[in-house]
């Protein structure tokens, strides 16, 4: 898998309230509709600008706050192929893998909005074609690789009947 697309850069501490605002709580059973508001309180025009395959690039502690799995789900539904950040909040990180959204920990300081990125998920390499950057990202634990490769937690359990840790 080598997704390609443009980067959308955000700052530190992007909370789940910024990703999936509480005022759209009533849309939690209508996720395609909720996805029209993804990242709305961080950038109100993001949902209309993002293209299929693009990347969200954050700073540190991306996804802090609530356990709402709706947050990574609507990022994925908006067509985003992966989220890159210097660090992730724990529950968001785990939820992202569970919904099949790659979350990659790397030094995102030099990446800017509009940069063309190419990611090799197997080799663990991120290429920034605009800035001629080659970044590496930390490997996931085996159990998370298994879940991600199966397309998320539900698909993983459907396939194996249980968690496959090794």
């Amino acid at each position: 898998m080598t997704p390609k697309g443009s980067a959308w850069k955000f700052g530190d501490n992007i909370s789940t309230d910024l990703i999936a605002p509480g005022r759209y709580f009533h849309l939690r059973s209508n996720l395609p509709e909720m996805a029209k508001h993804v990242m709305e309180d961080a950038d109100p025009s993001f949902a209309s600008k993002v293209n299929k395959g693009d990347f969200i690039v954050g700073g540190s502690n991306f996804g802090l706050g609530s356990s709402r799995e709706h947050a990574p789900t609507i990022i994925k539904l908006a067509g985003v192929s992966a989220v890159l950040a210097k660090s992730f909040a724990r529950i968001f990180y785990r939820n992202s893998i569970n919904v099949g959204l790659p979350v990659l920990i790397c030094d995102t300081d030099k990446i800017q909005t509009g940069d063309e990125l190419e990611i090799d998920l197997v080799k663990g390499i991120i290429l920034d074609r605009i800035r001629n950057l080659k970044l590496t990202f930390a490997p996931l634990p085996k159990v998370m690789i298994n879940i991600l490769n199966d397309g998320g937690l539900v698909a993983h359990i459907q396939k194996h009947g249980d968690f496959k840790l090794s």
Binding site: D17, R23, L27, R28, N61, S67, S87, I91, P141, V154
Partner: protein
Amino acid sequence: MKFCETFHLPDPVFVFILCQRRDGKFKKKTVLNMGKSLSEIIISQHCQRDVKAGEIVLTPVDVCLLQDGTAPLAIRQLEKLGLKKLANPSRTVFFLDHAAPSPRRELSNDHKFIRDFVAQTGAQFSDIGGGISHQVINEYYVNPGDILIGADSHTCTGGALCAFSTGMGSSDVAVAMGLGKTWLRVPESFKIVVRGEFPLGVYAKDLILHFIGKIGADGATYKALEFCGETVENMTMSQRLTLSNMAVEAGAKVGLIAADKTTQKFLKEMGRGNKYREIKPEKDAVYERSIEIDVSRLEPQISFPHTVDNTRPLSQAQGVKIQQVFLGTCTNARLEDLKIFYEIVKGKKKNSSTRVIVTPASRKVYLDAMKSGYIQAFMEFGAEVLPSGCGPCVGVHGGVGADEDNILSTMNRNFRGRMGNPESNIYLASPAVCAATAIKGEIADPREFLTVKKGSSAKSSKKSSKQKKKK
């Protein structure tokens, strides 16, 4: 705050600990890495073998918690898995607390969907007005040594009862309620040693805001916090729940407190004293980091918008005009919190430019507050008392701020947009600061209203220092 750093060697049997002494010098110690932290004890008991921090394990789950914002997705995930039965219906608990009563037809339909599922599966259920999940689950379901998985980030509140209690998403909880198990990475632990007697007008909430301000909103990401020391030992269960509740605001997985006589007393009061067992960390348990906090000179604390770690002492916050005060949430809406607020506002009138909203944490708390006369006093003060539930903390209903409003709240997070409007500002504080502020209309010092009486924690701390001297 003092920091002692621990360095793990590849050989798990020995570790070096570099400790900073009180004089500031560092001392290197080599210790046998044999003892278990609270997390390691609880997870080892579930896995029926000795587990250490860093291991990834498959573990049985004792209790599952879901609320109306996360349950519908979890139920749909369970249906996709084709699982028709729950592994443990008597300890799988659904709460309608986030939008309770429902303000919209979509949410009413979600509630109906949850009620139907509960009826089909025999799961436990707390309907609208029953209270906030984290309050009710600890009142009636969680026991020391349990593993609790909740589809809500503040599930970590259960750490106060020494349960390994952590928040996850809907899919994880769906699998846990279907299969009765989950996977976990056994966390490294930070030991937070709290000493000293709380000064007048300073509470557990100020301590945890101060701690998060120092360590940062991601300072403990993936770690387990263990709160200990004489101040924590002397805390009531209500205050302990406030501490554990906010562990996630430092990024932590759990915020554990050893199970002791206070835990036993709480369980007895809630009618399940037989579920008590003492759990304390082993003497030679290894902590990745040890942090000491002396609360004896701590001021009331305020978290400024828009992050919890943007904390300042009250002296640097006074004078900020406040349009809405909110006393509620899983952090600070227990009877003890309501009492602190009551002691300050009784017989007074709220400031005419400040709205005041109160949501008791549970039906039990609401009833007890009525019996104690608090609710009547709040109404006479000019506050609106809403049904037990999450209320305005979720940004759905019950007190959405206007653009540019400043809101002072007892809740646990102040992210932009949290209360439904990204153009309003949320400040966090204790119930006492909220009470003083509701009177003055701007962030105010509760100590002005607290001249003689001290909080129960201060009293109990005193008692314990005497006991200590005797020893």
